[in-house]
Symmetry: C2
Subunit: 183 residues, 2 copies
């Protein structure tokens, strides 16, 4: 695999940064990849916007900034509107369908996957705090760019006291991702 770029956008409290950090840790510790994981903060952070990026490669990464993401995970309308134009042609858009609508023109050839991550976390896992882990599971199922075994190990390692909750969130997220792929 060459270079693969992921951008995640949402609002504060959704765990966007943690999601990207866990992605980076899993890919390097379990999947034998090089990763650079970046947050850029500016005055817009005061509006509660949160953006996080991961660059994945089989080789060492020279340029750490995301240029044109292959995948954009949009977890808020503001993030969707801000970053949708940057998504690569033929790229993958994953949205939290209860928070984001597809508006305006998409770059050519984009495939849209709708995942009710917040709703699953709230109603099925029992806490909205697990929204980001649900979305990680969906990302794994949709893109195939990260190993499920690696994610499970990393989630257990990172949150030993909340492993059960987070493994459930991962599982339900994967199911939701599979469902989004088949519809």
């Amino acid at each position: 695999m060459g270079r693969f770029e992921v951008r995640i956008g949402g609002f504060g409290g959704q765990g966007v940064v943690t999601m990207a950090v866990v992605m980076g840790e899993t890919l390097s510790l379990h999947d034998n990849k090089f990763c650079v994981q970046t947050q850029s903060y500016g005055p817009e952070a005061r509006g509660g916007a949160s953006k996080s990026e991961v660059v994945i490669s089989d080789e060492e990464i020279d340029y750490p900034k995301v240029q044109e993401p292959d995948v954009f995970i949009a977890m808020s309308r503001a993030a969707y509107l801000e970053y949708i134009d940057g998504l690569k042609e033929d790229g993958i858009l994953i949205i939290d369908q209860d928070l984001v609508d597809v508006e305006g023109n998409l770059p050519d050839g984009v495939t849209v996957y709708k995942v009710p991550a917040t709703r699953i976390a709230d109603k099925e896992v029992g806490t909205k705090l697990a929204t980001n882990v649900v979305m990680l599971g969906a990302f794994a199922a949709i893109t195939g760019q990260i190993s499920v075994e690696g994610l499970k190990a990393q989630v257990e390692d990172r949150w030993p006291r909340f492993a059960k909750t987070n493994l459930l969130a991962l599982e339900l997220g994967m199911k939701a991702g599979e469902k989004a792929k088949s519809t």
Copy 2:
């Protein structure tokens, strides 16, 4: 202020990434700065090494990679040996004095500050999990590059259930930083 660069190195479990994330959040949300916060993961992550970087500026940041850090916070011997040569001349070196010794040649003009962050977290705060917050407090006191009020607000906001513990860690870290400056 122009561009200011911070590199933090340690081992897994010390909260090096969280430390840099909280630094970036505080600077943007409370201190009116632009920040880019980056983790680079490679095969070396498997050895438990953890590195995290923050670039701080009053203006938008074009180049997100740390080039020559103004400050290097070394929380493990492996990280010290790996990154000490990269520290800027006349830069600031902050070490956890129970884990890191100054070895070999330092870049010209470097000032060394010794902070027993792990020991303070363990013995005085009551949990080694607070080591990174102790070190954040020391960084604030030593460099003056981040507002104490902003750090307090961010720590309370991020860990509402553990605010008391983390505010104590911050306070003790600041005292240790002041002490390191005066010796």
